[in-house]
Amino acid sequence: MLSRSQIERLGTRFVRRSPPAPEDLAALHELLLVYGDALEEAVALVQASLGITPTSRVKTTGTILEKLHRQGGSWLKNIQDIAGMRIVGTFDRAEQDELVARLAHLFDGDRRPRVVDRRMTPSHGYRAVHVIVLVRSVPVEIQVRTQLQHEWADLFEKLADKIGRGIRYGEPPEAMPQTWYTTLPPDQQKMYDLRYRIRRNVVRIAQAVAGMIDAYEVGALAEPHDPELRDYRAEVDAALAAFTEELDDL
């Protein structure tokens, strides 16, 4: 296994050189196999102890390179989610908490598992609980999602595929390069502008829906006048009204 400083240097080379050198890709693949072994062990433990069979994967090379370019080469040595498993359950918030506690207990060792509660600190609409455990010093991330949290996350990822992966990090949808845009005739520019504003509105609606799902899961729907829920509804209504205005302008 590579040392932390070797991993850091590898990450830095990936940022500096595009396309990556074949020997660097080979070194990354070796590293991924080590993560894969730890992941397999962690999945087996979850299966044997909790009777749950998660879906698991080692992060794609493309996503690792994308994140390195976004966050810098030294990020590679600190990455927590190269090895990851996902548990999607038909459980409520209390049962989600209970499962998280059981997972943390299962992997409790020299270094305590770290719980990242993305319900409390959502990431641009994404909500779930992640438990980061260590298996033979290799971090493995366990995503624990309720059915609705998961379905929203899947939908938003798909939307990101269509309009720009940066929306997952709070960036606006991808725009056409300005040099291309200026070559378009005015009517095509108008159509493009409209399409782009609709995309921004879709993101806004999706994030408001994530908030509504959260409010539903914590029981706010039982209180229809809950201020938080009212704010999300207003946000969805405003985005839909903006949609209608855009279409009227067409």
């Binding site: 396309p19 879906t55 493309g62 999607v88 379905e151 798909k158 595929d161």
Partner: protein
Amino acid sequence: MTHYLLVYDRDAGELVRKQIYAQRAEAMQARFRAEAEFNGRGEIEIVALDAESERELQRTHGRYFLGLTELADRITAR
């Protein structure tokens, strides 16, 4: 546990390849070969996944199998 190699085209929003392997190591090696095959095509995502069944895989990684409308319907159908 079944081991899958998926090749997904993000721009088209479609799965272009799905292969099944008996061993995780085989799926990983197939992933590395596919990465070389699709080298330079940023819209192609290549992932090796382990799941209890294909049904379970589709449930936990629906984005590879379903369109935007179908994914939205999963939420609104409740």
